[in-house]
Amino acid sequence: MLFKMKKDILTGEITDKLVFQNRRKIIKAVTATAMASFIPASMSAQIKKYAEIPLGPYSASLQVTDIEYVKNYTNYYEFTTNKNDSTILSKALKTSPWSVTVEGEAEKTGVFNLEDILKTNPLEQRIYRFRCVEAWSMVVPWIGFPLANMLKQFKPTSKAKYVEFTTIYNPNVMPGQRGTALEWPYLEGLRMDEAMHPLSLMATGMYDDELANQNGAPLRLVVPWKYGFKSIKAIVKIRFSETMPATAWNKAGPNEYGFYANVNPEVPHPRWSQSRERILGASIFTPKRNTEKFNGYGAQVASLYSAMDLKKYF
């Protein structure tokens, strides 16, 4: 393990279970009291679920993007192709209770409650750069746990060469899934060594709080050296496989969106340059930032691709 697991923090500093289970009632009660006494409601909305989570390794010391921008600028095609509207539309998604089905080349397969997964995977905060294939970027303080920790618990066999993730499929609450923007459900995948890399994160929160639905609640992937579409939202299934999974964007545009999708300014998208990126929340007079290879994580991940032609395997 390249990083320390801070188990001691879990018991002492995490929100009391009773408080947690009744958090909605508590927030409501506090808000109601505040409203009654004419205290601005914003002052009472300070109960953040993950306020005490420690900063983990690999966090970049960067200025984080304003939370309002991260919450209202999302690509969630299951709901809409509009980055703004997914905020409201995604409120219809019920994220609790939540379970994850584990299948394929592993010893421990089956259906697991998210709560049980969280019990054995201590949370930490990671401040990561996030670079979208559309050439914009942001810096997000995620709350989550290393993907490797969880995957090891399922004991993948020697045949497991790849891991595939699936987003929830529920066209009743996800109007975009009734359309054909992409082939549903959304699928993403990583090579096993990528998945086991300590930078790969399973996120359950951001900005000291639970993930908002539009940001992929209750469980999403974060792979900071790859384009954002690899970081699949609302995961319900994990499958270990011997063959490379057919991923959603790759199926939609095989010559535009590769399986690897590593951030790379030297390999343009067939329709636009990837040399620069727009920083979300910056003023209109701020020039674009030069995109870094592997989104700035080259020192940690470049060795995974040392024998590969990145122009061919984009």
Binding site: T81, A181, W272, S273, R278, S283, F285
Partner: protein, 201 residues
């Protein structure tokens, strides 16, 4: 409609202000910092949307005039056409000045890699001679050539749609709407062209 010169002037001023509203609203949103997470993109897209909308509105005047038998509609052709050019110019300027930060290096890197930007530039270039020759004096000076020159707007209509369809990641309802509308507006011209020459129908 039988209206006096003054009444028409008043109506034109009202239409002028209405057409300027999207720009004023955008300006207000900019000043009040209401453009969201990606303000340059918002400016750029909203101006592009309005350029396309005014191109469509301008191109629908002739069919509507004939369909509704309202010849007065042609009074607004110049203004609406110039508004299409105005919004296209602002769309272009936001790209050059804000998105590329006037960087030549960024321009030569981005533009050749983006066929849809090239088509967008072409659309803008096609509209320039039309805006320049939009005055009554130019119309008189060019005579018959003026009409021929202004058929370029049909080409601009096609390239504007190509520009739009080429840049989006997946086909959206809006894109289908504008592409279909433009198809109908241009098909109408083809139809009247062939009909006038008795080539078919």
């Amino acid at each position: 409609m039988r209206l006096s010169k003054v009444q028409w002037a008043v109506i034109k001023v009202i239409v002028f202000i209405l057409c300027l509203m999207p720009f004023l609203l955008l300006l207000m949103d900019t000043i009040q910092d209401q453009l969201g997470a990606n303000p340059i993109e918002t400016l750029h897209f909203r101006l592009g949307d309005w350029a396309l909308r005014f191109l469509c509105i301008g191109l629908s005047l002739t069919p509507l005039r004939k369909l509704l038998k309202q010849n007065d509609l042609s009074r607004f052709r110049r203004m609406l056409g110039l508004y299409a050019f105005f919004y296209a110019s602002m769309h272009f300027l936001v790209y050059i000045v804000l998105d590329l930060s006037l960087s030549w290096e960024a321009f030569v890197d981005e533009v050749p890699k983006s066929p849809y930007i090239l088509v967008g530039l072409l659309t803008f270039i096609l509209l320039i001679p039309l805006a320049v020759t939009s005055t009554k004096a130019m119309q008189k000076r060019l005579g018959k050539k003026w009409l021929t020159l202004h058929k370029l707007v049909y080409v601009a209509g096609v390239t504007a749609i190509v520009h739009y369809l080429w840049l989006i990641k997946t086909l959206t309802i809006e894109a289908i709407f504008y592409a279909s509308l433009m198809f109908v507006l241009l098909a109408y011209r083809l139809f009247t062209y062939f009909k006038a020459r008795r080539l078919c129908f």
